[in-house]
Symmetry: C2
Subunit: 236 residues, 2 copies
DNA sequence: GCATTCAGGATTGTATACAGTTCTAAATTC
DNA sequence: GAATTTAGAACTGTATACAATCCTGAATGC
């Protein structure tokens, strides 16, 4: 039984709101209002907000308060590039450090999750499944810091991935799942050869191939936010 | 005039205490005692502690409180590897993105700081000087996230670098300063050729060459902490 | 003697009050 | 009418009180 604190709940909730643009990018967060809405007092909420600042979801200015951070295309690109930095080095390390036993288990994991991967139509599950694969490799690097950084990056990119996946049709989606799956298999093979340079190249390509998708997704997300705004203006 | 909040002050202070092992690794932090010591109440202190958790200096367990994180050799290695991940990718990006004008300014910066670099005997200044060089390159990558991550890593490694520098004699120290300076010049040259792969290799080598120094420094740091402990025991 | 229970103290978790600052908008001046 | 000033409302920053939880060690039973 995992003990989850109230603050953790507030973090989840607020992160969710930031991700789903219930808090608009750049807007100031009203602590009193938000605390009331989430059913807690300001003290624990502020703790939650502080941690979200550190995670990169919010910003903070003394005397002004907390602001929802904008997720513009430039930042998305930055985040994807940061992922490349982390994951390329992680797989390089994994090539020399992962034990044969670990790679065997990793292979089994890949086989076991394959059916889920292809049939899974729930977008959130699919995104988490993909994240898990990449986190697994980070873990094989035996470097806790790289893992930590990747977890953070995932948390911030997750929304973009979701928007992207949601925006495409089922047939196209299962097609892409298949493509990605075979890419994952190639990555496993590269790991097995233990050639760090080759593995690094493959990983780099795999992540970079998702950039345009991602920035495209952001455009859509922005449309989601700002169209309602325009409508508001027209109503005034 | 920069407005610096009370919480910021508490962060600085507490980080300093964690870094200098005034808070022992693994030990629980007594909020009441620490808040009294730092002249503030628990509320802002807890905000500060929360941010330090996010920075990686402390850990937190629900119901238990905040703990000073251990800085063992394994973690130092992890941090240096993470630096490699970030900085290698940063310089790769800098090779394609830095404008000629930027590189000219960078060269001028290198010339301007050279005299300081060699004459500077204050350890803290020397460490910051070296950090600045690396941050500069991260900035040339035009990627805010990589910069952010490197800043964080620097903050956590800084202490190790200081211990290391302090532990060597002046003549040896100025010798190393010279070595490092020429390494920095080579990095600039690599940037000017705009060959990402070459630049990446040079950067990797430059950072990796400091690992053993670093872990050695940690050993010394640990001696610093635990010898007094032993003495305490003997006094009991 | 060893494990277990339980009370008391210590410490963390949260709410709330109030002080200090910033923002807003109406009033004033040119 | 535009710019400036200035209350006052709204909000953030911090202290403190109290509730909830955890930890310690002595008492109890086996």
């Amino acid at each position: 039984m995992k003990k989850t604190s109230n603050v953790d709940r507030l973090i989840e909730k607020t992160r969710g709101m930031a991700i789903n643009f219930e808090l608009k990018p750049g807007s100031r967060i009203n602590e009193t209002a938000l605390s009331r809405e989430l059913g807690a007092s300001r003290t624990p909420l502020r703790e939650a907000l502080n941690r979200l600042v550190a995670e990169g979801f919010l910003t903070f200015q003394t005397g002004k308060g907390f602001f929802c951070r904008a997720l513009d295309p430039k930042r998305i690109m930055d985040l994807y590039e940061a992922r490349v930095a982390i994951e390329v080095e992680a797989i390089r390390l994994a090539c020399t450090r992962a034990t044969d036993a670990e790679l065997t288990v990793f292979g089994a994991y890949l086989n076991a999750t394959e059916p889920d991967y292809l049939n899974k139509m729930d977008v959130s599950d699919a995104v988490h499944g993909d994240e898990d694969f990449h986190l697994y490799i980070a873990r094989l690097s035996h470097n806790d810091e790289l893992l930590r950084m990747l977890e953070n990056l995932n948390g911030r990119i997750r929304f973009v991935r979701s928007v992207n996946l949601k925006s495409i049709h089922d047939t196209e989606r299962s097609l892409r799942a298949q493509t990605r799956l075979s890419a994952h298999r190639r990555i496993l093979e590269a790991l097995l050869t233990r050639d760090g340079d080759v593995a690094a190249d493959i990983m780099r390509g795999h992540i970079e191939r998702r950039w345009e998708e991602a920035t495209e997704a952001v455009q859509k997300a922005y449309a989601q936010i700002y169209v309602p705004d325009e409508m508001q203006k027209e109503m005034t």
